[in-house]
């Protein structure tokens, strides 16, 4: 368990760094997929099998394919990052990112260090699969948000088609 | 093969294009039927424009013929449309006969007709097979080549060759029919009639086949005439034009046969027309065998063939369309002064860019198949 976590965490972070640092966009997309797959495995570790599968299906199998398509369609004749706005401050970005990370870690250490494990409520009824739990919660307690999400996806689909369509 | 918009020329980058792609199809490509080269300009999968590049199989047959004597040219004509060598032979021999005013014996005329129609069957079989394979029906290809094999056997028995027959002589034929040959031809006709039913079952009503061929490469009769279409593709556009009927040669006058004509002028009609021609060909062959006259197969021909000065044009209906020979003789030398072929494949090929424009890449192969070209004849 512990080993698995540390290995996955190392992979996730390393791949994340590669995603944001690779020059070749196609390679970046590949690293992104690998990153998502590692996150899916992390979910399995957290006993969220359903979410893990959805992560692979929707993220890795769906969204990132979309990215790959766009990267291939946007067949750049010149490097995408050749032009630099003089007002841009890259270092500042790094600094802010680092600061945010430090802040997070500080909060976490401060908040969690004294009591490592909170009092966990009773485990869910045994024998009920993860899929069923999520399903019940999704379709009973969160039915309205679920429907709203589906409307959102529909709107996004129509919007994407309108945007991508060529003017006649 | 001039195209109003040659894609090879450098285009000024007026508008930046996200998705226009120039691809080169051939001369090494599995479905360009030899060494045809197409430069396609694609918008996604749609063909915006096509440029046909030919000449990869040019052997200079026309020029070569001007330094060969009249009998030697027959075997050069074999090498033009190599899947229909017998009709090429016939066209050439008849042209020379016309030039010299020779009389060909009736038996020879009949045998020539039988051979020409057998050749039509063989050529159409190759066409059907390759066309179907281009559209993905691999099995039809093997069936068709199996039947074609029988034609080749018949030719082999008659003249000893299976592909380049050299099977005509000016003034007649090199040999009479072998004993029992006509029985085999009859058997073959029965087989073909039977097999056509098989092919039709596999294709004619097949929904995928219909979707792939209906309304693909539509050309109107007027356009077809204007662009020099000939043969089955022309007839599929509804134009009644068949040299066998219009300007009968060999013994065609004496046989009853129908000329199938299409209506829509699309790939499916071209398919139907050729399929019907199978049946008409077997019909002609049977009639010819039934009424085969006795007599010599070689007419009275001078020992040295040397046509008088003059020029002539004579066309016959090859499986691909109207193949015409223009021959000029100066009456002095032992070879033609000018030898020129009007090849049906070439004339049909020049319609291709018009046909493919606006269609998808997949249709391009269907359309190359449907006009039934042989590059040996296009380039000569």
């Amino acid at each position: 368990m512990t080993i698995a976590f540390y290995t996955l965490a190392a992979f996730i972070l390393a791949l994340g760094v590669l995603v944001v640092s690779t020059k070749n966009t196609v390679h970046a997309v590949l690293f992104l997929v690998a990153n998502f797959l590692c996150v899916a495995m992390l979910y399995v570790l957290l006993q969220a099998e359903f979410l893990a599968v959805i992560q692979v299906l929707v993220y890795a199998g769906g969204i990132v394919v979309l990215y790959l398509f766009v990267v291939m369609l946007v067949n750049l004749k010149r490097g995408p990052e050749t032009h630099v706005d003089p007002r841009r401050r890259d270092r500042m970005g790094l600094l802010i990112g680092g600061a945010v990370l430090a802040e997070f870690v500080a909060i976490l250490l401060y908040g969690f260090a004294p009591r490592a494990t909170g009092a966990a409520p009773a485990a869910a009824a045994p024998g009920v699969g993860n899929v069923e739990q999520v399903g019940w919660s999704l379709y009973v307690d969160y039915l309205v948000p679920f429907e709203v999400a589906s409307i959102l996806l529909l709107v996004a689909m129509i919007g994407a088609i309108v945007l991508a369509k060529k003017e006649p | 093969m001039t195209d109003p918009h040659p894609v090879t020329a450098t285009r000024t980058p007026v508008q930046f294009d996200t998705d226009e792609l120039v691809i080169n199809m051939g001369p090494q490509h599995p479905s360009t039927h030899g060494v045809l080269r197409l430069i396609l300009r694609l918008d996604g999968e749609r063909v915006v424009d096509a440029d046909v590049v030919i000449g990869y199989l040019h052997r200079g047959i026309e020029k070569l013929s001007e330094s060969r004597d009249w009998t030697q040219i027959v075997l050069l004509t074999d090498r033009m449309d190599y899947v229909a060598a017998a009709t090429n032979n016939l066209g050439y021999c008849e042209t020379v006969e016309k030039l010299m005013g020779l009389e060909v014996p009736r038996r020879a005329q009949y045998i020539r007709t039988v051979l020409a129609e057998l050749q039509r069957l063989a050529s159409h079989l190759v066409w059907l097979g390759t066309h179907a394979m281009d559209i993905g029906a691999v099995t039809v290809f093997l069936y068709c080549l199996r039947e074609r094999e029988l034609v080749l056997d018949l030719f082999e028995e008659y003249c000893g060759a299976r592909l380049t027959y050299n099977s005509r002589r000016v003034g007649g034929l090199p040999a009479d029919l072998p004993v029992g040959w006509d029985r085999k031809v009859r058997e073959f006709c029965d087989i073909v009639d039977q097999k056509i039913v098989d092919y039709e079952q596999l294709l004619t009503q097949n929904r995928i086949w219909l979707e792939r061929t209906r309304d693909i490469g539509v050309i109107s009769g007027a356009d077809a005439i204007a662009m020099g279409f000939c043969g089955p593709p022309l007839r599929a556009s509804g134009v009644m034009r068949d040299v066998r009927k219009d300007e009968p040669y060999a013994a065609y006058e004496e046989f009853a046969f129908d000329i199938p004509v299409g209506a829509a002028g699309d790939t499916y009609d071209r398919y139907l027309v050729r399929l019907e021609e199978f049946k008409q060909s077997t019909r002609i062959i049977r009639q010819a065998l039934d009424g085969m006259p006795e007599g010599p197969v070689m007419g009275k021909v001078p020992r040295l063939i040397k046509p008088p000065a003059g020029e002539t044009y004579h066309a016959i209906e090859s499986p691909k369309g109207e193949i015409g020979f223009f021959i000029a003789s100066d009456g002095k030398s032992l070879s033609p002064y000018r030898f020129r072929v009007r090849p049906p494949s070439f004339c049909n090929l020049q319609v291709l860019p018009k046909l493919v424009r606006g269609h998808l890449v997949a249709d391009v192969v269907a359309l190359i198949g449907t006009i039934d070209i042989v590059l040996g004849e296009v380039d000569r």
């Binding site: 196609v26 590949l30 | 979707e211």
Partner: protein
Amino acid sequence: MIETLVVPLVKIAVLLVGILTAVAYLVLLERKVQAWVQVRLGPMRVGPHGLLQPVADVIKLIIKEDITPARADRWVYTLAPIIVLVPALVVFAVIPFGPETNVFGIRMPLHVADINVGLLYIVSIASLGIYGTILGGWASNSKYPLLASLRASAQLVSYEVAVTMTLVSMILMAGSLSMVEIVESQQARGLWFVFAQPLAFFIYFVGGLAETNRAPFDLPEAEQELTGGFHTEYSGIRFALFFLAEYANMIVIAAVATTLFFGGWLRPFPSVAALGLLDIVPGWIWFLLKTFVLLYVFLWVRATLPRYRYDQLMRLGWKVLIPLAIANVIVTAIAVVVL
């Protein structure tokens, strides 16, 4: 120790060897079946009736020169075949080949893993194979493969929707995502689901043909049009991996169809006691038999039908199969609630 470590490892090893052999012989079978349909003999030279042909093919593919085009993206080019193959093999883990059986004295189920999201697992893993297709075409840095890989990915994405929809209706019928429980549910009802859901099976099968790029949907590798598809530039062992993946995917489609629609390891008419005699045949043989029959249909279709065109394929997928599949899901859901 034996239960938790050795048994699964042995299972995985057996499964892998089995699949790879099956793929090799599926290729031979395809050539043979096509040959028989076309009144030919097919491979006859290597071994009796060409039975050793797969061995010869494998040796040929391995010793052939492995070419990387000069301007290809070397890494992605190497990675693509692997990305295609791995999902195709990993999917087999959840396919139940038979009920619990005694194997050498150890009682064990004939599958590597029975996870409670089995069916979703198959769908999600299978959807990863598309990367190999796209990247293979892209990395070759050549126009025909690029066109073919765009075609392939569009085709995969659209048919995945229809196929997944049919799976939803099967989940509704079985009330579980676990492959084993789906088979058991068919046993409990005494009914192969194909009789309850013929439309779903039809859609699944057509979609399966399209997803595995088989005729009449073999556009991505239509050699008459695109000279061989997204793997045009590949040769040698890397080409072999693509090849392997395609056939392994066929087996996956057939095996999943067997599990979902044809009662997995159940004998025919599982509810008719009079046919109890058939129980002599072990379940895994029934399973393999049914899979084989489905694979045969794959090959048969290929030898018979011409090829669809790209836009027609898309039209069929989006305008016919997907609406039908959605309607089927709705009808099934109502039926499940009412009955």
